[in-house]
């Protein structure tokens, strides 16, 4: 067996163009015992890219707790798996598509949706929900409108067509994302527990089958692009963005799920970042096997593609699977029914090597384990963020009447209604969306049962910037609260860690701080991490994004009859506030939007209180005492009650206790671990008594009813005015785009 010669000769320049350091190249030489050819160099380049190898973060990711009795599969597979009862499991993951979405927002976002869907159905799960955590630059930045427009259209264009409801997510704006927007997509699927599929190649002689779209020249080196900083010249990378075809994806979902019923799949893996390379290496590595591929058999979209291009293409809507020998015919019949291209392109071997043949020559021959399993791991130097001083709550900061402050907050880009976005997404297809976008968490019914999955994405990047450790804890705690507020028992999270360049100690410090804070919260709340993704190098010309570790939470509602929403259905309910109110304004949205300041320590998270308060809420919901519930987060109590009024179509009156040090702090402070409950008169006393027994702080703060929101003795805010302000900003902002 002869190897095609290195052509062209590998020079230091070629190595550098592939994003590999001289030390990494030395390592390649040692692994191979010779110089690689260009195909092999390309393989190492993508497999050892930050995007695929997690080389800067892996050391720290191991700090996450990943186990619990209900966890079926933790990190390391295509997606995480948790038990949801009745013989079913939830399969979920979140992933970034930041760099492509900035360059080409429609296709970048669309293919982000496609990729995460494949991660979920490749495990045998039918995707049932999508969520999107979006972070854009300052609204006044010239690119922002265009990016919002393209990203939202791309997510809708893909998700609507494949027929998976987009049920929730977030969308916020900050100038730190001007040059690097974040598009993080989460997908949740449901599978039978005894029918989960993994990506472990095994069985010498078993056929390796390619199915789905043909391979083209799109997306070559996408994973490498996602592992480098941006500069002004980034526009030139547009050709590295892939193009999505949701119709093919829909066929692929149906065909794969149909084939999975036949028990002939040994292993299955989608071709995501780094395409055929990563899918084949990862399957071989997980199974401790080797693979031989005949690249002449790969279905190609265009003639004249080289082995290098075939291996590095990131064409979308492709899957790789290992079948049981002799079952190829059954599989082909299913794929033909769905009109999909498929081909046997290789076999499993026991050599532990990846051997690629093309036109009668071996064009690559590398050991699998060192490429996928033994990629470099860096312990990069880190530096903590400077500590910030807490800001004392004080009425001196009330520069505006509180009603004006509330209106400004509720109409601000971060807190305004995102209806303009979610009405472009089909959030009801599949007929199981029980809580639609706009509440604390979305709830989808587990099809054919009376159970529900509560789903939310959360992160408060300004807290993470102010104090990475506390911000990390807060992201997990808020996720947990959002699920609890619907009556769901939080099960596990996926995450997507978005940061700047890990080669800068300050950024590395943010990454480590956030991970450690998240890990602490996950442990304290029994809320393990089962899957995740890291996106580094989110910076342009040296300006990094805010540290943004997005958390995607999944919780279980065992009886949808006991579910709670943020809308109260009746007047004259008592509003009860749970949790301690110190009036924390440092790093709050009030601070930012009303006072134009971003200083101060973020609110501390007391994990013991979080758990105590959340478990108390769940017990009260189970006891049937809670008519509506909302967690308190951005904008504090006043914003929460305003959101509840809008969802209910009914007003409320809020009084302010005389003993609070600051009215602004009481109304807009962002103290953690808090919930606002609407309770019937007769349930108030038992609830307050139970709270006292549980050591949970609780007090009456208002009453529902009427057509206006009344803050203490200030002029009432009519629901019409509240709604107009809340609904107004985003459509107004986007409409202005048409005039440009």
């Amino acid at each position: 067996m002869t190897l095609a010669p290195a052509s062209p000769e590998i020079t230091p320049e070629i190595v550098a163009e592939h994003g590999l350091s001289p030390e990494e190249y030395e390592r390649i030489l040692a692994i191979l015992g010779r110089a690689p050819n260009l195909v092999e160099l390309g393989i190492f380049s993508v497999m050892w890219s930050e995007h695929c190898s997690y080389k800067s973060s892996r050391k720290h990711l191991s700090k996450f707790p990943t186990k619990a009795p209900w966890v079926v599969q933790g990190p390391g597979e295509n997606a995480g798996v948790v038990d949801i009862g009745e013989g079913l499991v939830a399969v979920f993951k979140m992933e970034s598509h930041n760099h492509p979405s900035f360059i080409e927002p429609y296709q970048g976002a669309a293919t982000g949706v496609g990729g995460i869907l494949r991660d979920v159905f490749t495990m045998g799960a039918r995707p049932v929900a999508l969520l999107d955590a979006l972070r854009f630059g300052d609204p006044s930045h010239p690119k922002t409108r265009h990016l919002v427009h393209g990203v939202v259209a791309g997510i809708g264009g893909y998700g609507n067509c494949v027929g998976v409801p987009t049920v929730g997510g977030e969308c916020t704006f900050h100038h730190a994302y001007n040059g690097n927007i974040l598009v993080n997509v989460m997908c949740v699927g449901i599978a039978r527990k005894d029918r989960v599929f993994y990506a472990k190649a095994s069985g010498v002689g078993n056929p390796v089958v390619y199915v789905g779209a043909k391979t083209g020249r799109d997306g070559i080196h996408g994973a490498t692009m996602a592992s480098a900083e941006f500069s002004e010249a980034t526009e030139a990378k547009r050709p590295t963005v892939q193009v999505g075809d949701p119709f093919t994806e829909k066929l692929l979902i149906e065909a794969c799920l149909e084939l999975m019923e036949k028990d002939c799949i040994v292993a299955i893996q989608d071709m995501g970042a780094a395409g055929l390379t990563s899918s084949s290496f990862e399957m071989a590595d997980r199974g401790g096997a080797g693979i031989e591929l005949d690249l002449d058999r790969v279905p190609l979209r265009e003639a004249g593609m080289t082995p290098y291009e075939i291996m590095l293409s990131e064409s979308q809507e492709r899957m790789l699977m290992v079948l049981e020998e002799g079952r190829e015919g059954e599989a082909m019949a299913v794929f033909r029914k769905w009109g999909l291209d498929c081909a046997v392109i290789g076999r499993v071997t026991d050599t532990g090597r990846m051997v690629l043949r093309w036109r009668g020559e071996v064009v690559a021959n590398v050991p699998v384990a060192p490429v996928s399993g033994a990629s470099p791991v860096y312990d990069r130097p880190s530096e903590p963020s400077p500590r910030r001083v807490p800001i004392a709550a004080s009425d001196r900061e009330a520069v505006l009447p509180h009603r004006q402050a509330l209106l400004r907050l509720i109409g601000s880009p971060d807190l305004c209604s995102k209806r303009w976005i979610f009405e472009q997404y089909d959030h009801m297809v599949m007929g199981d969306t029980v809580q639609r976008p706009g509440g604390d968490a979305a709830v989808v019914r587990v099809h054919g049962t009376n159970r529900g999955l509560a789903l939310a994405t959360d992160c408060t990047p300004r807290y993470c910037q102010a104090d990475p450790h506390m911000g990390g804890m807060q992201a997990v705690a808020e996720s947990w609260r959002n699920l609890v507020a619907t009556g769901a028992r939080p099960l596990a999270i996926t995450n997507c860690l978005n940061f700047g360049s890990p080669e800068r100690p300050r950024i590395m410090g943010q990454l480590i701080g956030c991970i450690e804070g998240m890990a602490a919260a996950c442990r304290a709340l029994d809320y393990p991490v089962v899957s995740g993704n890291v996106s580094l190098y989110n910076e342009t010309d040296g300006n990094a994004i805010l540290p943004t570790p997005n958390v995607g939470g999944v919780g279980l509602i065992e009886d949808l009859g006991r579910m709670v929403g943020i809308a109260w259905q009746e007047p004259d309910l008592v509003l009860v506030l749970l949790g301690e109110c110190l009036g924390w304004l440092g790093s709050s949205l009030y601070w930012q939007v009303i006072l134009g300041r971003d200083d101060g320590a973020p609110p501390p998270v007391d994990l013991a209180a979080e758990r105590r308060n959340g478990e108390f809420v769940l017990r009260q919901i189970a006891a049937g005492r809670v008519r509506a519930c909302h967690d308190l987060s951005d904008g504090g109590l006043a914003v929460a009650v305003a959101e509840m009024c809008l969802a209910s179509g009914m007003g409320a009156a809020l009084h302010v206790p005389s003993d609070v040090p600051s009215t602004a702090g009481w109304l807009f402070g962002e103290d953690q671990g808090r919930y606002l409950l609407a309770v019937r008169d007769e349930d108030v006393r038992p609830l307050l008594q139970a709270a006292a027994e549980a050591g949970v702080l609780a007090r009456e703060v208002g009453r529902t009813g009427g057509g206006a929101l009344i803050l203490r003795d200030e002029e009432p805010i009519s629901l019409q005015e509240l709604r107009a302000v809340h609904e107004g900003w985003l459509p107004g902002y986007m409409a202005a785009a048409a005039e440009v």
Partner: protein, 221 residues
């Protein structure tokens, strides 16, 4: 009651429609693949929503020419009840079973939200369970739901009382606020953009779609 729902490549409301029909009809609904050229005896045929063939040509144009549609056209002529929802409505217009066409929403964006409708006629097997001018709420979810028809065609629809539903607050620019129209020799073909199958239980936000399936059940038992 013998009912079937057709699946085209890219259909994505086929399961939802079958589930809703089964919930109201109380018996199994047959699932039919688009390449099936023959159909068993049926009372009701459902043409579901979705993105058949990716909507890469005109919406519904490819599906309208699939083998099963030849049979659906024949059955419609015999008086079998045919209901096309969303993409199904587009397919029925492309197949010539209903007049007019559905083009891009006036707002140019996909729109998914509950809308208020007025029941414009109760003279059909689909709508006789509603009150005349009754206001109901059903969700829409489409990019191409803007119903267009020429003046003569519109006059004919109006004269023959074939507008089934009208939008109260037109979400897509449809001519005469039309949300659904009737056709067929016995007013036995209905196409509509809103999704009655998404509104059959309060847990999902409403049950105003139930009466449509209930009407069919009463007609065919």
């Amino acid at each position: 009651m013998r009912a079937a729902v057709i699946t085209f490549p890219g259909s994505n409301c086929d399961r939802d429609l079958a589930v809703a029909m089964e919930a109201v009809f109380g018996r199994p609904v047959q699932r039919v693949w688009h390449q099936q050229a023959e159909l068993p005896p049926l009372d009701v045929i459902g043409v579901p929503g979705g993105f058949s063939y990716g909507d890469y040509l005109r919406c519904g144009a490819m599906a309208a020419r699939s083998p099963v549609m030849r049979e659906v056209i024949r059955r419609a002529a015999e008086g079998v009840a045919v209901i096309g929802i969303c993409n199904g409505f587009q397919i029925l217009t492309e197949a010539g079973l209903l007049p007019g066409a559905l083009v891009r929403n006036a707002g140019l964006k996909f729109v998914c939200r509950p809308v208020e409708l007025e029941v414009a006629t109760t003279a059909s097997v689909f709508t006789k369970g509603y009150g005349l001018h009754e206001r109901i709420v059903l969700p829409v979810a489409h990019h191409d739901g803007n119903y267009v028809i020429d003046t003569d065609g519109l006059k004919r629809l109006q004269d023959e009382d074939r507008v089934a539903f009208r939008y109260r607050d037109n979400p897509n620019g449809s001519t005469d606020d039309i949300a659904g129209v009737l056709g067929g020799p016995k007013r036995n073909v209905l196409g509509l953009m809103p999704h009655p199958e998404r509104a059959i239980e309060p847990l999902l936000g409403g049950s105003d779609g139930r009466a449509l399936f209930q009407s069919l059940l009463e007609a065919f038992g």
